[in-house]
Amino acid sequence: MSTVEIRDLRKSFGELEVLKGIDFTVEAGQVVCVIGPSGSGKSTLLRCVNLLERPTSGRVVVDGTEMTDPDVDIDAVRRRLGMVFQQFNLFSHLTVLRNVTIAQERVLRRGRAEAERIARENLERVGLGEKADAFPAQLSGGQQQRVAIARALAMNPSLMLFDEPTSALDPELVGDVLSVMRELAGDGMTMMVVTHEMGFAREVADRVVFMDQGVIVEDGPPEQVIAAPRHARTREFLSRVLHPEG
C-alpha cells in the first residue's frame, strides 16, 4: 500500500484550474521532491494531501484512508501527517515547548509529563533543546522552522509534508534546516517536499517530480530528472534555476 495515492486530482480556484489531472504516489520510506516554477500547482498539490485545500475532483488516499470521502474523519488522518509551512506558522502566543506539546495533549491525549518529554526529545533532535522556554518571536527564521519540524515530529507522523520550508529564510540559515531534513530522510521518514533547493533534491530525494502549469511533466530519480531531463520544459526550468545569471 502506498503512503499517498492520488488519482486524477483536479483543483480550481474560481475560473483558474491549478491542478489539471494529477496521478501521483508516494511509497513508504520514499523522499519525493516536487519542483517547478511558481504557479505550477506544486504547493496546491501538497496541500491537497492533507486536505488544507479541498480537491475539486479526484481521489486522495493517505495511508489507505480516502481523504476525499466526506464521511472520513479528516482530523484523525491529519494526526498522522506532519506539515511544515513556508512561513513556519509557530503559535506565536506559546513558548517553544508549548508549541510542541499542545497538539500532543489536546489531540493525542498524552499527559503533560509525557508530552514534555517527547517535545524535549524532538527539540534536541533539531538542535534546539536549550530554546524550550523561548517565544517564537525571539528565534531566527531557521530556528523557528526547526521548531516547526519538531512540532510535527512529536505527533509521530507516518508522512511529513514540507511546503517550501526554506524559501522564507535568509540564505545563511537554510543549511541548518536542510541538514535536519537530511537526517530525517536518513532515518527513513516518508517525505514529500516542495522545494527550490536543487542541491537538496539531487542529494536526498529518491524521486523528483517536475510540475508545470498544473500537470506533472516529469517524474523519476534525481539523476534523471535533474541531471538528464527528457522534456524541454524541465530543461528550460532547470537552466533558469541552476544558472540564474543566464
Partner: protein, 274 residues
C-alpha cells in the same frame, strides 16, 4: 520651513525668523488676555462657595469612595464581564457557517450600536413584561450588568471580529494540520491570539463603560446602590450646592485618565512589537 542660512538673498524689512517670532508673541498675548479677563470676571468667592465647599464635601467624602465609587466599579466590572462574553460569542457567530447565526449577530450589532445606551437602560426594567414570571437576577446589580453588557457587547463584538481577522491564516492551518478540529483550533490557538491583539481597544472600551455606568441612575437605585453620578447629584440637591458633582467628576477622572494612559501604552507597545 527654511533652514538658517538657506536664504541667500538679502531681506527687505523683517527677516522670516523675526516674523515667526512676532507671530508667536502675538498668540501668547491673546492667550494671557483671555485668562486675565476670565479671572477678573469670575466671582472667586462664589466659586469657592459653590464648587469647593469644604463643609459640603466633608459630609459626602467617605461615602463618595466607600459607596459611590465602589458601586461604579461593581457595575462597570460586571457589565464588562457580560459584554466580553457576549461580544466574543457574537464575533464567533459572525463567522459561523450557519447563515442565520451570522444574520442574528450582524443584526444585534447594528441595533445595539445604533441605540443610545440610555434607551436600553429605560427598557431593561420592562423586560420581565415579555417573559412573565421572569426576573433579572441580582436586582439592580443584575439589571446594570445586563444593560451595560448588552451595550458594550455590540462594540466588543466588532473589536473581537477585527482581532480574529488579524490572526494570520497560517495559525489556523498549522493547528488543523496537527489534527485539531476547527473548534479546538479556534479555542486554543486563534482566540487567545485575537484577545492579545485587542487588549488596547478593549481597555478603551472599559473607559467608555466606566462612564456609561452613570446610566444606572435611571434604574431607580437605593442609597446603598448609588453610583458616582447619582451620588453627586443627590448630594448637591441636599445642600443646594454643586460641589459634590465636581467631586464625583474628579473621581471619574481618577480612574479614566490612568486607564486611558494604560491603553495608549499597550497600543504603542504592540505597535512596536510588529
Amino acid at each position: 520651513m527654511t533652514a538658517p542660512g538657506a536664504t541667500l538673498a538679502p531681506h527687505r524689512g523683517l527677516s522670516p525668523r523675526d516674523r515667526r517670532r512676532l507671530g508667536r508673541g502675538a498668540q501668547y498675548v491673546v492667550l494671557v488676555a483671555i485668562v486675565v479677563a476670565l479671572a477678573c470676571l469670575a466671582d472667586w468667592g462664589a466659586i469657592k462657595q459653590s464648587f469647593l465647599n469644604t463643609q459640603v464635601m466633608s459630609d459626602g467624602l467617605p461615602r463618595l469612595f466607600t459607596v459611590a465609587l465602589k458601586n461604579t466599579v461593581i457595575y462597570t466590572a460586571s457589565g464588562y464581564v457580560v459584554g466580553f462574553a457576549l461580544g466574543m460569542l457574537l464575533a464567533l457567530l459572525r463567522q459561523s457557517s450557519v447563515a442565520p447565526y451570522r444574520w442574528i449577530s450582524a443584526t444585534y450589532i447594528e441595533i445595539f450600536r445604533g441605540l443610545p445606551a440610555l434607551v436600553i437602560f429605560l427598557m431593561i426594567g420592562s423586560l420581565p413584561l415579555a417573559f412573565p414570571g421572569f426576573q433579572i437576577p441580582g436586582g439592580v446589580y443584575g439589571q446594570a450588568a445586563l444593560g451595560l453588557g448588552l451595550v458594550s457587547a455590540a462594540y466588543m463584538a466588532e473589536t473581537f471580529r477585527a482581532g480574529l481577522q488579524a490572526v494570520p491564516k497560517g495559525q489556523m492551518e498549522a493547528a488543523r494540520s496537527l489534527g485539531m478540529s476547527h473548534g479546538r483550533a479556534m479555542l486554543s490557538i486563534v482566540v487567545p491570539q485575537a484577545i492579545r491583539i485587542v487588549i488596547p481597544p478593549l481597555t478603551n472600551e472599559l473607559v467608555l463603560l466606566f462612564k456609561d455606568s452613570s446610566l444606572v441612575l435611571f434604574l431607580g437605585v437605593t442609597a446603598a446602590q448609588v453610583e458616582l453620578a447619582k451620588f453627586g447629584n443627590d448630594q448637591s440637591s441636599i445642600f443646594a450646592n454643586p460641589t459634590p458633582i465636581l467631586a464625583s467628576g474628579l473621581t471619574y477622572l481618577l480612574i479614566t485618565i490612568p486607564l486611558g494612559y494604560v491603553a495608549r501604552r499597550l497600543e504603542s507597545r504592540q505597535g512596536g512589537a510588529r
